[in-house]
Every structure is written in C-alpha cells, then in structure tokens.
Amino acid sequence: MAIRVQREDFDVGTELDALTRGRTDIGALTSFVGLVRDMGGEAKIGAMTLEHYQGMTEKELAAVEREANARWKLSATLIVHRYGRLEPGDRIVLCAAASPHREAAFEACHFLIDWLKTKAPFWKLEDTPQGEKWVEAKADDDRAADRWRNPA
C-alpha cells in the first residue's frame, strides 16, 4: 500500500514494476492513468492548475486505499496524484491494484479512481479562451462513486 501526492510527473512503468517486482503471488495488475484532455466541457482548454488541501489530501487518499484493501483481496495498491500546473496530455493520477485474480484487480482499481474523485480534496482551475474557470463537480462522478456504496 502506498500513496503519493506530488508536483512532478511519474513514470508509469517504474511505478507498476515496483508493485510486482520479486512477487510470484500476483496474477493480475490493473492500472488507471488520468490525463489532461484539451476539451473541458464545451470550451477548449489550454492548461490547468490543480489545487489541493495538503495534509487532508494524503489522509483521504490513504483512506480510499485502505477501503479498497478492506473490500478486495489485494496484493498491492498504489495511488499517485499530482498537483500544480498541468498541460493537455499530462498525466494527473495513477491508480493501480494487484491481486491473484483479475476481477478483484479490475474492481479495486476502478473503485480507487471513482472513490478518490469524490473524496480527495483537489480542485481544477482550467485556462479557457474566456479566462480561468473552476471545474464544476460532475453528477456522473457522483453516480460512479454511488455504485460502490452498496457493494454486491
């Protein structure tokens, strides 16, 4: 289990290799990378700035990771989330879950990103041709998180 909050980019290959290296009990590793798209809603965006609540962010990410490990039999988990200024195409977040079996790895990884999206105190400020604009929370994200409130 590990979480990191950082300004710098991360190397996906290095991060994932570290999760499974030397392990022979892992059959499945699912990962998710979130990237900055150049379309935010209707308006073409340039860059964005991710603000966060240092201290609480780490606590919330650790809680999200603990919850995943409580719900599924996992061999390793990782969350890396960036803050600061990001350009279109830049990586924002990495979630990974390793397990003996692929169903658990997929569900846990999906849970990690859905849950952190409604829990971790990050806020996106987009540069748009109309000026800076705070991104509004999406009802879709709430629905995605709601799905995990009543685990099957």
Binding site: K117, T118, P121, W134
Partner: protein, 83 residues
C-alpha cells in the same frame, strides 16, 4: 480558530487563510458558516449556495451539526474535482 478557503470559495473570500475568534455561541459548523457569511460581501457570496459547500474540521469531512472549538482547523470548499 483557523479557517481555510479553497478553490472558488477562496477567490470570492479573497484569502486562503484567516484566523477568526467567533463568540462562544458559535459552537457548530452551521452557526460558524452563518457567522462567517456576515464578515464581508465576499464571504456572503462564497457561502450563498450552502448546498455546494463542503466542510472539514481538522481534515475530516463533517456535517453541519458538527461542533467547532477554538483550536480547530476548519476548511471550507466546493465539491472536489480531482482525479
């Protein structure tokens, strides 16, 4: 009592951090938000739509009836948009 404002609430209020000393009658989150809203037009605007305001006391999400006391760190922010 330390108040932290984030995202567009911070922009409205005009500061990221303020130290405040409300009267003893301001003993829960709901009363604190009312008290803060009266401090300036910016505060009032930030807190106008109370349903989109999230509050954390000492870095834990809380509801409006959660108690607040002198040493607390109280963060006020809109719904999160990370990931």
């Amino acid at each position: 009592m330390k108040i932290l404002w984030f995202a567009w609430l911070r922009t409205r209020v005009g500061t990221a951090t303020e130290n405040v000393d409300p009267p003893a009658s301001v003993d829960d989150v709901a009363k604190l938000l009312d008290w803060l809203a009266a401090r300036s037009p910016g505060h009032a605007e930030a807190l106008a739509k109370r349903e989109v305001v999230r509050v954390a006391v000492n870095q834990e999400y809380v509801k409006l009836d959660h108690p607040v006391t002198k040493g607390d760190e109280i963060a006020i922010f809109p719904p999160v948009t990370g990931g």
